[in-house]
C-alpha cells in the first residue's frame, strides 16, 4: 500500500495505483474524459490534472503513479483554472448543439462545461472544423464536429473488439478520428459492434437506430440477456413509454459476467424487430385457406379440442411438439411437460441440430 495526502486528507491505495485510482478508491472524484478503466491509458485529455507539491508541472492523474508521501490537490484554484482552459481548448472543436444532441443529459463534456462554467471557447480564431456527417452505414452516426479527441473509440476498437478499424489521422488541431484513408466504416475492418458508441463520452458517436427515440434521462434501463447467439451477453433494454427505444451495455463484471459490456452488431443494433409492424398481435384461425383474426378463447378452445380428438383417434404418438431454443427455460420446461404429461408422448424436440 502507498499512503498519500489528497486535499488535506490522508488516503491509502494499493502499490502501483495511479493518483486517479487512489482518489476514486477513496471516494474523491476527479473529472476525466479520456480515461476508461477497461482501456489502455492515453493521458491525453488533461481533464484529470492535479497539483502535486514539489512538482513544477500539473500531473495527469490518470497516468501518474501514486507515491508514498505525495501531497496532492485536486480542486485548488490553479487546478480549476487549468481545467477551464483545457475545456476551452476542447470546446474549440466541439459543436455546442446540445438541444438536438442524442447525448444531451448523458454527456461528460456537457457536465464539465456546466460544472466549470465554460460557455464558449476563446480559441476558435480560425473557426471550428466543419466535418461532413455522411457515413452511410445504418448503425453508427459519426459526427466529428462533437469529437473531443479522447480516443476512447480507437482504444475500444483495438482493446475490446480487436478490429482496429479506426485511428487518429493528422496531428494537432487537424487531428481527427478516421478509418484508413478516411473512408466509410463499411469499407474498413469495422464490425459495427458499437463498442465505440459505448465508450464515447460525447455525442460524436451515437446509434442511428435509437436516434430521436429518447434521451438517457427519459429511459428506464432493464438489465437482461441477449436473444441472439448462445454467448449470453448481458445488455440493457432502454424503455420509454412501454417501448424499447435502444440497447446499452452494463459494463460491470458483477452484472455482465460474460461480456463486460461488449456486444456485437445484432445485440446492440438489432432490437427494433420487437416493435415491427409485422408482429402478430392476435390469434389467427385458417378458414378456407385464409387466415382470420380470432379471440384467444376461440383459438385456444379450437387447439385444445382438435389435439384432444387426435389424441383419442390416432394416439399420443401421432402428435409432436417442436419447442424452441429462443424461449426461456421455464417455457421449455412447460413445453416438454405439456408434451409428456398432457399429449402423452415423448415426441418433443427443438432446433439444436439446425
Amino acid at each position: 500500500m502507498v499512503t498519500l495526502t489528497v486535499n488535506g486528507k490522508q488516503i491509502q491505495a494499493p502499490k502501483g495505483s495511479t493518483i486517479l485510482e487512489a482518489c476514486r478508491l477513496n471516494g474523491i472524484e476527479v473529472p476525466t474524459l479520456c480515461y476508461d478503466p477497461d482501456l489502455r491509458l492515453a493521458g491525453s485529455c488533461r481533464m484529470c490534472l492535479v497539483e502535486v507539491k514539489g512538482r513544477p508541472l500539473f500531473l495527469a492523474s490518470c497516468v501518474a503513479p501514486a507515491e508514498n508521501g505525495m501531497v496532492v490537490e485536486t480542486e485548488s484554484t490553479d487546478i480549476v483554472e487549468a481545467r477551464r482552459v483545457v475545456l476551452e481548448l476542447l470546446a474549440a472543436r466541439h459543436d455546442f448543439n446540445c438541444q438536438t444532441c442524442e447525448k444531451n443529459g448523458d454527456c461528460k463534456f456537457q457536465d464539465y462545461c456546466y460544472q466549470y462554467g465554460v460557455k464558449e471557447s476563446r480559441f476558435t480564431d480560425g473557426g471550428r472544423h466543419v466535418y461532413p456527417i455522411d457515413d452511410p452505414n445504418p448503425f453508427i452516426e459519426r459526427d466529428y464536429n462533437k469529437c473531443v479527441m479522447c480516443t476512447r473509440c480507437v482504444r475500444a476498437c483495438e482493446d475490446i473488439t480487436n478490429a482496429r478499424a479506426i485511428n487518429v489521422e493528422n496531428r494537432g488541431h487537424k487531428a481527427k478520428i478516421a478509418t484508413a484513408f478516411d473512408g466509410d466504416l463499411a469499407d474498413s475492418p469495422c464490425v459495427f459492434c458499437g463498442q465505440c458508441v459505448m465508450v464515447c463520452p460525447v455525442g460524436a458517436l451515437t446509434s442511428k437506430v435509437s436516434a430521436g427515440k429518447g434521451r438517457a434521462y427519459e429511459v428506464e434501463k432493464v438489465v437482461t440477456t441477449c436473444t441472439y447467439c448462445g454467448t449470453g451477453c448481458t445488455l440493457e433494454l432502454n424503455v420509454k413509454d412501454n417501448k424499447v427505444v435502444g440497447v446499452t451495455s452494463n459494463r460491470s463484471e458483477e452484472y455482465s459476467p460474460v461480456n463486460k459490456g461488449a456486444l456485437c452488431v445484432k445485440g446492440r443494433f438489432g432490437w427494433d424487430f420487437i416493435h415491427s409492424s409485422d408482429r402478430l398481435t392476435t390469434p389467427l384461425i385458417k378458414e378456407n385457406g385464409e387466415f382470420r383474426e380470432a379471440s384467444w378463447d376461440e383459438a385456444l378452445d379450437l387447439v385444445a379440442t382438435r389435439l384432444q380428438a387426435i389424441k383419442e383417434d390416432s394416439g399420443p404418438d401421432s402428435m409432436a411438439v417442436f419447442t424452441s431454443a429462443r424461449i426461456t427455460n421455464e417455457e421449455n420446461y412447460l413445453a416438454q411437460k405439456f408434451t409428456r404429461a398432457v399429449l402423452g408422448t415423448n415426441n418433443v424436440d427443438h432446433c439444436a441440430r439446425l
Binding site: 445504418p138 440477456t225 448462445g230 454467448t231 438489432g270 408482429r279 429462443r326 427455460n329 415426441n347 441440430r353
Partner: protein
C-alpha cells in the same frame, strides 16, 4: 462447453478452432480469442474450408475439404503419438480405449491425410505440435463440425484429441461447442429432447420416469420420442397427425424444404406459436401470437452452462401473450390444470426435478448467474467440468474412428460442394434480423461465395445473378466472388427466404446417431443465367 468463455481470453495458451466462424457467429467470444492471441500471444490453429477472420490471425490455418474433419483430427493425433507428445500419465490414469484408437490412427499419417483433406502434411504436423505442446489448449467448435453425416464421429474425434494431450479438466483447456442460439443449451437442459427429461434423465429409465410421474401426477410414456428431423419424415409418410411448433421455423431451417412443405401439408392439424407470421406459420391451422424476450421474465442458459435472468422490460405487444401462459392455458383446457403465477414458480418446480439446477433460485441468479452443475443452495456453480480428469462416466472413453466420406459427393453433373452457414449481420432464419431495420438495410440480399478461379472459368462477374442447383432444386442468387474458399466449394447463408438455402439441402443425409442434417456438404452445380 466443458469450460468457460472467460478462459478463452486469458487461461488458454493454445486454441484450436474447427468448424466455427467465431467472429461472425459468436462475435463476443471471437473478440476474446483475438485479444488472447494479439495481447497475450496465445497460439491459434484454425481448421475451416473458408478462410475466416480468425484464420487470418492463426499460426496455422488448415483449409480442409468440407466433410474431412475425422481424417484431419486423426492426422493430428497420428503426429502427436508418433512424436511422443501424448500425455501418457493422463491416458493411463483417466482414460480407457487408447489402444484401439491408436491402432486406427496409425494409418492416418500426415501424407495420407493430405490426400483426403488437401491440407499440406507439414501444416498438420505444425498444428499437432502447437496443440500438444501448449500449456493449456482449448478446442472450440460449432456447426461446422457437427452438421455432417459423421457429426457424432467428428465430435468424438476432437474429444479424443483433448484426452490424448490431457487438455481437459483445467482452466483454459476443454472441448467447447459454441452453441448457436440464446437458449439452445437451456432447451436441451430442460428436456426439450425426445429421449430425456430435464437434466438429461432418460425417459426409458424406470426410476426416473416414476419420479416424474409422481411429480406430475400422470403416467408417462416409456418410449423414446422422435427427433425433429424424424418427426418431419414421419409427417411426410403421413403418419403424423398433429404438430405444435413453438418459436421454430422448419420451413426455413430444416433440410430440403420441398420435403418439409409436403410433410406440413400432410398434417391434419398444425399449430404455430410465434412472434411473426413465419414461413412455417403460413402452413398453420391456428397461429398463436407469442411474446419476445423483452416482454417476459425467465432465464436463458448460455453456451458455458451459465443460467442468467431474462427480465420483462415492456408489456407484450398488442394481444400477444408470453409463451408460458399460452402453454398453461392449453394444458388447462385439455383437462390438465397448469397454474403458475410467475415464471419463478415454474423455475421452483423445475429445479426440484433437475439435479444440475437444484441449487439455483432467482435470488441467487441475480448478478452473475450460476453455471451448472449447481446441486445445492450452497454450491458456487461449476466453471469447468471434469476436474482432475474425472469424467461423468468414470474414465474418459477414447473412440476408434475411421474417416467416412460425406453422403453426397460432387460428380460430373453436380461438380461443386455447397456448404451453408450464417453471417454476422443476420441470425438463423432471419425472422428477427430481417425485421431489424439497420441489419436488413446493411445486408438485404443473399449472396453465394464463389472462388475467383471458378468465376473466371464460368465468366461470372462479382454481383451477377447466378443459378445454383442441387438434386433437390435450384435458386437464383447474387455472386460474391471471393478467394476465402477453394475453387470447388461454394458457400451461402440460410437467412433469406427469397433465396432459402434449404430448398437445396439434403434431407436424406443425417448423422445416424444425432440425426443432424449434413448442411456442410452437398453436391451442387452453378450455371450462368
Amino acid at each position: 462447453m466443458t469450460n468457460s468463455i472467460g478462459e478463452l481470453e486469458k487461461d488458454a495458451t493454445g486454441i484450436f478452432v474447427i468448424g466455427s466462424n467465431t467472429t461472425e457467429n459468436h462475435p463476443v467470444i471471437g473478440m476474446k480469442i483475438k485479444k488472447n492471441v494479439l495481447k497475450n500471444g496465445a497460439k491459434l490453429i484454425v481448421a475451416d474450408p473458408r478462410r475466416t477472420d480468425l484464420a487470418d490471425l492463426a499460426d496455422v490455418y488448415m483449409a480442409h475439404l468440407p466433410g474431412t474433419d475425422v481424417a484431419l483430427v486423426n492426422g493430428m493425433m497420428n503426429v502427436i503419438i508418433n512424436e511422443g507428445l501424448a500425455d501418457k500419465e493422463f491416458i493411463a490414469n483417466c482414460t480407457e480405449g487408447y489402444e484401439a484408437m491408436a491402432e486406427v490412427v496409425a494409418k492416418y499419417t500426415p501424407e495420407y491425410v493430405e490426400k483426403i483433406t488437401t491440407v499440406p502434411a507439414q501444416d498438420i504436423r505444425k498444428a499437432a505440435r502447437i496443440y500438444a505442446e501448449a500449456e493449456a489448449a482449448a478446442i472450440c467448435y460449432a456447426m461446422g463440425l457437427t452438421q455432417h453425416s459423421t457429426g457424432t464421429d467428428n465430435v468424438k474425434s476432437v474429444c479424443n484429441l483433448a484426452m490424448l494431450t490431457g487438455n481437459i479438466g483445467r482452466p483454459g483447456t476443454g472441448v467447447d461447442p459454441l452453441r448457436g442460439q440464446n437458449n439452445v443449451q437451456g432447451a436441451c437442459d430442460m428436456g426439450g429432447l425426445p429421449v430425456t427429461y430435464p437434466a438429461y434423465q432418460a425417459v426409458t429409465n424406470d426410476a426416473v420416469r416414476e419420479k416424474f410421474e409422481k411429480a406430475w401426477g400422470v403416467s408417462l410414456s416409456p418410449n423414446n420420442g422422435l427427433t425433429l428431423t424424424d418427426t418431419i419424415n414421419k409427417a411426410y409418410e403421413g403418419q403424423m397427425k398433429a404438430l405444435v411448433v413453438i418459436g421454430e421455423n422448419p420451413m426455413m431451417s430444416d433440410p430440403d424444404l420441398h420435403h418439409v412443405e409436403e410433410a406440413l401439408e400432410k398434417l391434419d392439424f398444425l399449430v404455430v406459436q410465434d412472434i411473426f407470421l413465419t414461413e412455417t406459420a403460413k402452413y398453420a391451422d391456428v397461429v398463436l401470437p407469442g411474446a419476445t424476450f423483452a416482454e417476459k421474465d425467465g432465464t436463458f442458459s448460455n453456451t458455458e452452462r451459465r443460467v442468467q435472468r431474462v427480465r420483462k422490460a415492456i408489456d407484450p405487444v398488442g394481444g400477444a401473450r408470453p409463451d408460458w401462459q399460452i402453454i398453461c392455458d392449453l394444458a388447462t383446457r385439455m383437462g390438465y390444470p397448469m397454474q403458475y403465477n410467475s415464471p419463478e414458480e415454474i423455475f421452483e418446480e423445475m429445479k426440484a426435478l433437475t439435479p444440475s439446477y437444484a441449487g439455483m433460485s432467482y435470488a441467487r441468479l441475480e448478478g452473475r448467474g450460476l453455471q451448472w452443475p449447481c446441486p445445492n443452495a450452497d454450491h458456487p456453480g461449476t466453471p469447468f467440468l471434469h476436474k482432475d480428469g474425472k469424467f461423468s462416466r468414470g474414465k474418459g472413453a477414447f473412440s476408434a474412428i475411421e474417416f467416412k466420406e460425406p453422403r453426397e459427393n460432387p460428380d460430373e453433373e453436380y461438380p461443386l460442394i455447397l456448404t451453408t452457414g450464417r453471417s454476422l449481420f443476420h441470425y438463423h432464419t432471419g425472422t428477427m434480423t430481417r425485421r431489424s431495420s439497420a441489419l436488413d438495410a446493411h445486408k438485404p440480399e443473399a449472396e453465394l461465395e464463389i472462388n475467383p478461379a471458378l468465376a473466371a472459368k464460368m465468366g461470372i462477374q462479382n454481383g451477377e445473378k447466378v443459378k445454383l442447383s442441387t438434386r433437390r432444386g435450384s435458386l437464383e442468387i447474387k455472386a460474391n466472388v471471393t478467394d476465402i474458399l477453394a475453387e470447388n466449394v461454394v458457400f451461402m447463408t440460410f437467412h433469406y427466404h427469397e433465396a432459402a438455402a434449404n430448398w437445396l439441402t439434403n434431407a436424406d443425409s443425417l448423422d445416424p446417431v444425432a440425426k443432424i442434417p449434413e448442411y456442410k456438404v452437398c453436391a451442387a452445380r452453378l450455371d450462368k443465367i
